[in-house]
Amino acid sequence: MDVQNKIVGVVGRKGSGKSTKMREILERCPCLFLMDTMGEHSWIPNRFSDLRQAYRFLSWASAQKYFAGALIPLRSLEKEFVLLADLVYLAGNLTFGVEEAPMFCQPSYLPPQFDRIVRLGRHRKINLVWTAQRMAEVARRLTAATDAFVLFAHTEPRDLGAIAERCGSEVAEQVVALPIHGYVIWDALSRKLCSGVGVRHGYDAKLLS
């Protein structure tokens, strides 16, 4: 099967290491733009709080081989995210990171602009990396399109049920037993489960490859 893009989800409680893991994934991306909801990713060189600046950056980046930028929303999260999703889709050929995806969607709802990236991003060569604290809060349309899950420790029954529903009961059992910073990687395409207790291994590097 020809994989035109990859969608990776990083799910875990606060303080479990989601942002750190997301950074490990995105640092290897040649072209990336991040919706930095919490403003945690200071390692990204070009950070903007104005959509017009982000638009100028993406216009400049279209002629660049490598680029990395982030938008830190200051006003309306949903409005700015929707506009950014449009910009990202128009730009194409990049990795789009979304911190705390449930802030912009509901279990049964995705903003149309973001939904377009999820469904049609492969035509624009847009990879997607998203994070969430609870699997149950993530839109089903997004989880259904996700190719790989990085799952940290979960204890909430509803979240474990959602993990079991999407990834299988075996994965849910592994997730329950994880330590505080431990995680497992579930590849939905190859249906392969890998585990790593905060240790980088070869599989991590191939998440978006």
């Binding site: 070009n46 638009y55 100028r56 400049w60 980046a61 930028g69």
Partner: protein, 209 residues
């Protein structure tokens, strides 16, 4: 018009009339000359119909009484009276009575070749001298006289407050910086997308391998 009666030398009797004296008054105001000393009151008595205001001005300029000033004015012209037998006179204003001497001057025809420049001037004579009367050292009787009306003087520009040069330099520097900042802000805001590829305003990105 008013009637001025004063004593005069006997030799003046029969030689003067109001119109002639009015002409001498006009001539004097146009070209003020130092007046000879007062010949003194004599046995004769003269009554002349003259503009009251002109006599008052002559009185102020000469520093004498009206009688003395008129005697001095007449004394300055009486010597030429015998030479010029038909000297024309100019009426200062319309006749309003007075002595028969005044009406004689008004009815006399005026020879245009002998008329002074005042022929085209309006009937009402300007009673204020246009020039300062310079004090002649040879004539001690003529006291220095200040002009009756203030002469329009140009303001002394050197007395005006001057702006220090350093203040001008500071203001110019501020204006230059302000204009530069406005142009820069406008250029950044209106710069078309993609045009900044030549001069990259964004930081580079090197992904981890």
């Amino acid at each position: 018009m008013a009637t001025f009666s004063f004593r005069a030398p006997e030799r003046w009797a029969g030689q003067l009339d109001s119109g002639r004296v009015r002409g001498w008054l006009q001539e004097y105001f146009r070209h003020p000359q130092p007046l000879p000393p007062d010949p003194g009151a004599g046995p004769s008595r003269l009554s002349l119909s003259l503009p009251e205001r002109a006599v008052k001005v002559l009185e102020g300029l000469s520093g004498d009484s009206a009688s003395g000033a008129l005697r001095r004015l007449i004394a300055a012209h009486i010597t030429s009276l015998a030479i010029v037998s038909q000297r024309p006179t100019l009426a200062l204003s319309g006749p309003r009575g007075g002595t028969e001497l005044s009406t004689t001057g008004l009815k006399r025809r005026v020879d245009s070749s002998l008329l002074p420049q005042a022929q085209e001037e309006p009937h009402m004579l300007s009673l204020y001298p246009k020039e300062l009367i310079q004090v002649s050292r040879s004539d001690e009787a003529v006291s220095p006289i200040r002009p009756m009306c203030p002469v329009t003087q140009t303001p002394d520009w050197s007395q005006l407050p001057r702006v220090p040069p350093w203040f001008v330099c500071v203001v110019v520097a501020i204006l230059v910086v302000l204009v530069w900042w406005l142009l820069r802000a406008r250029r950044q805001g209106g710069e078309p997308p993609g045009s900044g590829a030549a001069a990259a305003p964004f930081k580079p990105w090197i992904p981890k391998v």
